[in-house]
Amino acid sequence: MEHYLQTTGRIFDIQKYSIHDGPGIRTIVFLKGCAFRCRWCCNPESQHFQPETMIRNGKPKLYGKDVTVEEVMEEVMKDTHHYRRSGGGLTLSGGETLLQPDFASALLFAAKQEGINTAIESTGFQKFEIIKNQILPYLDLFLMDIKHMDSEKHQAFTTKPNTLVLENARKIAKTGQKLIIRVPVVPTFNDTVEEITAIARFAASLPGVEQLHLLPYHRLGQDKYAGLGREYTLPDLLPPEYEHMQKLRRAAAETGLYVQIGG
């Protein structure tokens, strides 16, 4: 980690005052590039590793920038007072953070050097050895996405099977890492009581996992697809109703997990 501040990586956004992704007030750094192509993805500009131009509010804007850890940390640490007061810190998100393991590792290490809390939002899509050696040593909280227990359906909606995700979830849990499982609840994909309960049962079976977050699908990213010249394949999908979310929450809570709606 000698030159960790000079490690470079590719990000597409930094978002301050995040209050729904880990403890306290946080800054989210979004790393560019993802292994999945989830059809509901609200950040389609995150998917390709290559920088790309997206039309936003009628104007073209380039997404994807190569930066050093030092540059990122300078921005992140501007909110140091807010972290100190709230117990917050840095969250890495994506794209898939773990696809840039050296960069992610250096960022988390740098955050720990500054004494702030660290978290990642990830699908765990990486070799476990890399996760274990480069990420977990500097990580306070792993927010792990599990989208479906049926691998075929998982693949149909995300382009990848769920095998590695489930395998890694168990391995990570076994290390004693603080782990919260999060499920994007997407109508037509996984929003039945059976499907959610299946995920909840799996989560409950992981050692040390106590919490499950159900994140209702939203349409806020829809117009980004047009901005990128891509097609949104779920054009008519409506967000799940409040009552339905409550029903899913109650069902999932039967596993004994603490279940909340939203992050």
Partner: protein, 868 residues
Amino acid sequence: MKSPFDIFAQVMYTFNHDDTVGKGRAVLKKFFDGDIQKSPRIQKLYDDLFDHMPTIEADRAEIVTRVYQETENDPIITRRGKVFKAICEELPIIIRPLELVVGSNTQVARGCQVFPEYSFEWLESEFDTVETRSADPFYISEDTKKRLHEVYKYWPGKTTSDLATSFMAPETLMAIKHNMFTTGNYFYNGIGHFTVDYEKVLKIGFEGIRKEAETARDRLHVFDPDYAERNAFLEAVIMCCDAAITYAGRYAMLALEEAEKCSDPDRKKELLQIAQNCARVPAKPARSFYEACQSFWFVQMLLQTESSGHSISPGRFDQYMYPYYEEDMKSGKITREFAQELLDCIWIKLNDLNKCRDAASAEGFAGYSLFQNLIVGGQDKEGLDVTNDLSCMCIEASMHVMLPQPSLSIRVWNGSPNALLIKAAKLTRTGVGLPAYYNDEVIIPSMLSRGVTMEDARNYGIIGCVEPQAGGKTDGWHDAAFFNMCRPLEMVFSNGYEFGDKVGLQTGSLESFKTFDDFYFAYKQQMEYFIQLLVNSDNSIDVAHATRCPLPFQSSMIADCIGRGKALQQGGAIYNFTGPQGFGIANMTDALYAVKVLVFEEKKYTLQQFAQALNDNFGRGLSKERLSDLTLQVTKELARAGKQVGEKDVEQIALQIQKDSVTPEQKAFYDQMLEDINGLPKYGNDLPEIDLFARDVAYTYTRPMEKYKNPRGGMYQAGLYPVSANVPLGHQTGATPDGRLANTPIADGVGPVSGKDTLGPTATANSVARLDHGIASNGTLFNQKFHPSALSGMEGLQKFVSLIRAYFDQKGMHMQFNVVSRETLLDAQVHPDQYKGLVVRVAGYSALFTTLSKSLQDDIINRTTQGF
């Protein structure tokens, strides 16, 4: 093995997710912070409050005028004593249905009396519009108009405003005419803006204060050089103490009469209790919490009949009321629920008081607000935390009544208990725009730097919107002027001229500015010049009040008026300040920065091009106001050249001016210019370079101010806040180089230009904290708008509190929040009748949204909704 980070994160997590944490803390904290049931009486009192439109009443004006006529040969302080005495003896009194704490200065709820001794022409000229104006309308009956018309015959040439005008220098009057600043607040009204020593009245009553004044009088020697003045003053104080006792006595009688007539046995008992209370206080020391409430209220309402000054602030109510509450709770004399009901009754009464301002001031202070600032929490004189049950019950009272008064404030310091802040955040979450949060860690040192002692500084309260004051000892003259920091920049561009008048300094032609420093220096010179004129204006008004309206009743409760034998207006207080407030820092920062980069660094545009662009309003067409200004200018020039100008000609001129506005090429040029300006970094995005520049721009106002003195022997101290004047005064301001169009609002408080902060509340707060708040010892104002979901659950509240703490860690001074959805506000504009009770935060205070003018409503809606 878990790392310390793990454990910390887990503790925070559990804390954030456990709704019982707040309640479970009972073992740790020594005060009650739970919910208390709202009594049905409060809803009834609330409904009655809005039964009628606010009404203007003529009784006080008649009494004052009669007494003035009868006392022409008395010293002014004696006349003021006699005025107060006559008001206490004659002003019609009323007990409103079901109220437990009595004392109203109008027959109709939320009505107002008239104060002709300060100014009257404006009201007479607005007789026919005051009922239909957009900001704070009042009903006025034909009979009242007639009575006031009679009264007004006496006053020409005799008011404080008449005298003040006669004191002002010609260049000052010119600057005022051109709206460089406005000192209208104290020009038209009494001064107010103080906290009296309520504690003293509760402890010794007016009989005690009378005794103090008598003792002081008896110590005078007839051969003392200032015997005449001191003696007359002390006699007036004695007269006022007696008058207040008389007034309460009338209420005791009225309550007795009503009790006799009352057929409802419960209400009868209440009325008898009220009669007993009024017979006892405020003459004598309060013996119970209920008596203390009644005593407090008589003081609070009578202060607001003596003069038309607003921001008569109850100050540290939770502190001086606490001994009575504690005693009664210990002895079992009252329940917490009844104590809460009494507080709620007072809260309703604070909204019953009202004042009619002139149309322009009503826009600047919109929302019928009297800015009675009541503050809870904080430290005592020794620096120890003093949060108690009442601190939380005051917050609870605001939740119960959901009304803009009192302007509730919370003192926050490093030792403030979390439970108090969580309780406060719950109130914020309701969207009522209360409370405002204040930072002891900035305010106390700031006051020390102004010569306030450590003990007094630690005991500070807030006056009006955001102004710190050592209560019971200060004549702060806070809110002394609105100074529009954008106007001096216009003077730089026009070399001191406007519409043919020489208004500012001649700081040089645009060609003469070779560097940005030259240009910036010219701005600083213009600033300094207008600050000097502002001082001239305020000092003129100050002397006018000392001469024509020294006020013995309020002086009886502020140290050391009795000791010095002088009224507050004549320098009787221990601490004397004048605090005029500047606003427009964000616009001027972005504007000067744009000039610096685009003209002097990148050389993309010349100063002349900027000047032309501002004149042409960036090709965005002329607003109605600008058009009429320009038409007036041309008309005047024609008249000066000896040409006759008729109504038809004026229309022609206006048409011509509109036609002369920009060509398509120019329009394209201005579009590019605006794009270049918008592309520059802006204040409010946590960019140290521009934020530190903002700090320097703020100094152009705050630093010169420290040099000047007022006639009461005190110093000037700057504030940085506009109340809501950034909207109406923005209407009088041309386009500015930050891309702000002519006649549009100026940025609010010390916050960024609306919509220019794009990184969310932490970034905005970090930027604002880079200003030097301590030097603005008259207060700074920072508003943020939140969607309610940012404060949802215990976790949301806790994160919200962290944001406040983090801003205060960085030496921010004040923070206030608007939590309401945009949709709600838009709907309220369309259906005002359905949102009569909708309170939003406007500048430093909360107001009823539907009573605000359309433009102010729009400004509130347009503020960045942060966090989402």
